[in-house]
Symmetry: C2
Subunit: 198 residues, 2 copies
Amino acid sequence: MSPVVGLRERKKADTRVAISRAALRLAVEHGPDSITVDDIAAAADVSPRTVFNYFATKEEAILGFDPNRSLEVGQSVLERPARELPLTALRAAFVDIATGVPEVAEISRARVDLVRRHPQLHPSYVAGYAALENALVDAIARRTGLDAEGSLYPRLVVSTAIATFRVALDRAGPGKSSLIAAIDEAFDALAGGLRPPR
Amino acid sequence: MSPVVGLRERKKADTRVAISRAALRLAVEHGPDSITVDDIAAAADVSPRTVFNYFATKEEAILGFDPNRSLEVGQSVLERPARELPLTALRAAFVDIATGVPEVAEISRARVDLVRRHPQLHPSYVAGYAALENALVDAIARRTGLDAEGSLYPRLVVSTAIATFRVALDRAGPGKSSLIAAIDEAFDALAGGLRPPR
DNA sequence: TGCAAGGTTGCAGTCTGTGCAACTTTGTGG
DNA sequence: CCACAAAGTTGCACAGACTGCAACCTTGCA
């Protein structure tokens, strides 16, 4: 009998989550530099070597990159109504992220805070958006019928949309205005050609 | 007699350049992963320990971050005519970079190529734009009279402009269309609200 | 000329990250 | 039910990045 997802895959997914949860928790508690891979491994109940089987670096573990996530978001952009403008479809996808499973959003916010408090993480954090960018460029290229690499437009619109999302994320810090409101304000300005507010 | 810039400072600047030149050259020749800090130090004729006095990481040395450079670009934005729109002033500043000292542009292009060929460098490369972003946010805040942090606009316009510049840089690869043309096309699209090409 | 500030170096040590080979667990087919 | 293949986990040895510290050298100035 071959289960839709076998015990093997489920265990792998669990292990990945366990490592990344442990890494995030420890990093939040003690700071990313004060913890070692050994600490993370111990907290996740695996060997240090195994941590590197799942994540290329310690920071990746803390930030919990999940390649599948990017593909999901790309898919959600493809599923938006065909008549929507690219920028509108992208904005909707970001709103989906923001309003998704509360627990996921919570963890995601914790990561943003952590990066804010520890700028050493910034490079790795930004790097995590590269996979998302590629997935979205692909989706936009399909929607518009443009060539993903040959044409300037797909990468341009995705790249600026992600930048816009990140500004909104940063602005909607803990206790500040809602993320949705920030996304709306930022994307309106972007679609309007970024003229300065009166 | 106190020289405008003393021997000390000149030597420091020279050493920084020597290290970063050596690091870039070796990385281009052998790949960033195949060279060690010891190699770089030897090529720059300093001790390995000294390399870390100038750059926090090996990758920083290869990518040759110079904090002063960001301040210069910020200054050039402030010096644009006051009636120019923020996006126009930013675009002009990027064109200045592209048309500046040929030798500098040459090195800068070599770095872009290197990053393209070795994506491991991408995170650090992108991180290098953080200093530029902050300098430009400051400049735009002053030009518009908006609060750099309290208002969404300054960071939004700078962040998207940098993303746009980077897409143009990437597009204008070696032997491809001119960088200026790419900057023009990309910024026109951005100022037009990123509607898809007909 | 002599001294203080600042820059460079070597050293010892910690930690990240990798290749490899043994070991364990899961899935499958006889 | 049992063997066997496939896939995952672990330990080990090791290269190399990076840091703190203390000694040493060079520059700027009185």
